[in-house]
């Protein structure tokens, strides 16, 4: 199960962050998800990985461009990121977020600073921060179903057992 709504302090990073930057290729050949969480964003800011637990990650446009590596979103989920909010996402990264059960919201013009408390709700597609409310692009019913199951593994487990 993934909670589709929540609250946490913002961690803000820039635009066009590629998945090599989220988790470098040199850490991919393992099955240990802890390794990915530990080294998340290492080449961007080595201190970032320690600040991710319980946070809402707020990024610039085109988040997660580049390689399709799912380890990037697994790293964020494993590191304890509650949700990712951006004006736009690279499409594979966006799918991967849904598929690992990491809430993801497309939101334009979000004004937000590091440490500010953000409340998000994927079911109605809203983000609230600093007294302002923002409307996000809505998710399809299928995407919501996968997300609420906790990701594609749980979604298929559920469907196969029916």
């Amino acid at each position: 199960m993934t909670l589709l709504a929540g609250t946490g302090p913002a961690v803000c990073i820039g635009a066009d962050i590629d998945t090599d930057m989220v988790i470098a290729g040199r850490y991919l050949r393992t099955k240990d998800r802890g390794v990915w969480a530990e080294h998340a964003f290492e080449d961007l800011d080595p201190t970032l990985a320690t600040r991710l637990r319980g946070c809402v990650l707020v990024t610039g446009k085109n988040m997660g461009c580049g390689s399709s590596r799912e380890q990037a979103v697994m790293a964020l989920r494993e590191a304890g990121v509650l949700a990712v909010i951006a004006p736009s996402f690279a499409r594979i990264f966006f799918r991967n977020c849904i598929n690992v059960g990491l809430p993801v919201l497309e939101c334009e013009d979000l004004a937000c600073h590091d440490g500010e408390m953000i409340t998000y709700d994927c079911t109605i597609g809203t983000v609230n921060v600093g007294g302002n409310s923002y409307i996000c692009r809505s998710l399809s019913p299928r995407m919501q179903e996968i997300l609420v199951s906790g990701g594609l593994v749980e979604y298929w487990k559920g469907r196969l057992s029916r």
Binding site: D16, D18, D20, M21, A24, G25, R26, L28, R29, T30, K31, D43, K61, N62, C65, G66, S67, S68, R69, E70, Q71, V73, S88, F89, A90, R91, I92, R95, N96, N99, V100, S140, R142, G151, L152, V153, W156, K157, L160
Partner: protein, 405 residues
């Protein structure tokens, strides 16, 4: 009144479509992830194993015992499940699939971002992550959002020393790294029908660098002739005059010159002429963008009888490309010029082995990405065509191929 994406997916742009997947493929990197996820799903078996491919290219051959163990696990799984399997040395998944395994109109899903390459055949080909691949193994289907489309109209013909890679860099620069996010690109215009399949594959390969879902070509005589060599027949696809495009780009090949993407963004593009003389530590010719036989042959025509001044790594895209280069003498020319030849596969492109850069080093590569630290921590990469790469290998600095042709 439909774009090719709308025709293939059977719905209008913006809608969601559940589609049977005609071909699904993954590589050693995403495949092992998909296998772990598939195991967790607890499915009774693979829905359509005859349509699924596992292709070893990313770290191939294995570089460490850890990689070898993961290779072993996935190899055994592929063998048990009845999926097609391409062993190390067969080539990069996109090129391997391009060798007569994709037909116009198919829905093709690859667990790799450059799966858009196969849009060159008029197939709706796009990349997904490992979970999506596992879901396709379980069900044989996936959901897709029908993309809006951007048309690129191509006119004129290339000048000597200029390649379709230069056109690819030009449209990425024009659109920007996210200019085509969630969109399909369609390659149209008077010159489209004259562009050979190797050029189409290069052009479709790089659409994801502008964020696009796929890069589509309408199947025509070039497609039919190419697939005919693999014993496959294919039907034509005709563009619809009234199809709605969200954006249109016109590019005249005549005015195109050799280009470079400069570190560390693919959309930061400059003419080679502005950077001539930039010192290099390594040149790399290969990848799913530019490791095909024709790319190696163009490099060899420039390197013939010359010696490289910097270490130059050449990695053929597939075994078929490698064999053609052996039989035609292209490989002998490259080796004679001092190039190092790697086994068919991705080579150093993803930064694992076989020619990554050291700290502070500068490289020139025919690949599709020059992200910071991707091909070696602390290294910087320029991206170019094979002709520019070969001309630069001779001098050890960025050089204009038009000067040596």
């Amino acid at each position: 009144m439909e774009t090719l994406s709308e025709k293939i997916l059977g719905a209008q742009a913006g809608n969601f479509s559940d589609k049977r997947v005609d071909k699904a493929f993954c590589h050693d990197g995403t495949g092992i992830q998909a296998k772990m996820i598939y195991d967790e799903m607890g499915a009774p078996g693979i829905a359509n194993p005859e349509t699924c491919y596992v292709i070893y290219d990313h770290i191939s051959p294995a570089n460490t015992s850890q990689t070898a163990d993961l290779h072993k696990e996935l190899r055994e799984f592929a063998s048990r499940s009845g999926m097609h399997f391409s062993e190390i040395g067969g080539g990069i998944c996109h090129q391997y699939m391009a060798e007569g395994r994709i037909l116009p109109g198919e829905v093709v899903i690859g667990a790799d971002s450059h799966s858009c390459t196969l849009g060159a055949f008029g197939a709706l080909a796009t990349g997904v992550g490992a979970s999506d691949m596992a879901g396709i193994w379980v069900s044989g289907e996936t959901w897709l959002r029908v993309p809006e489309s951007i048309a690129i109209y191509i006119s004129g013909s290339l000048a000597k020393g200029v390649e379709y890679k230069d056109l690819a860099l030009a449209y990425v620069a024009e659109l920007g790294m996210d200019g085509a996010t969630y969109h399909a690109l369609e390659f149209l215009g008077d010159s489209a029908s004259e562009i050979p399949m190797e050029g189409r594959l290069t052009l479709s390969n790089m659409v994801v660098e502008a964020g696009a879902k796929t890069g589509l070509w309408y199947a025509d005589d070039v497609t039919r002739e190419y697939l005919g060599r693999y014993g496959k027949s294919s039907s034509r696809q005709e563009p619809d005059d009234e199809a709605v495009y969200s954006e249109e780009l016109w590019i005249d090949l005549q005015g195109l010159e050799p280009l470079l993407a400069v570190p560390h963004r693919v959309d930061t593009v400059k003419p080679v002429s502005e950077l001539v003389g930039t010192s290099l530590d390594q040149v790399f010719i290969g990848t799913c963008t530019n490791g095909r036989y024709e790319d190696l042959a163009r490099a060899a025509s420039i390197l013939d009888g010359k010696q490289v001044a910097v270490r130059t790594v050449v990695v053929p895209a597939s075994r078929a490309d490698y064999l053609r280069a052996v039989n035609s003498g292209v490989l002998a020319t490259l080796v004679g010029a001092g190039c190092v030849i790697g086994p068919p596969g991705c080579g150093p492109c993803l930064g694992a082995h076989m020619g990554v850069l050291g700290d502070g080093e500068v490289g020139l590569s025919t690949a599709n990405r020059n992200f910071r630290n991707r091909m070696g921590v602390g290294g910087s990469y320029y991206l170019s065509s094979p002709s520019t790469a070969a001309a630069s290998a001779i001098t050890g600095e960025i050089s204009d191929p038009r000067e040596v042709l």
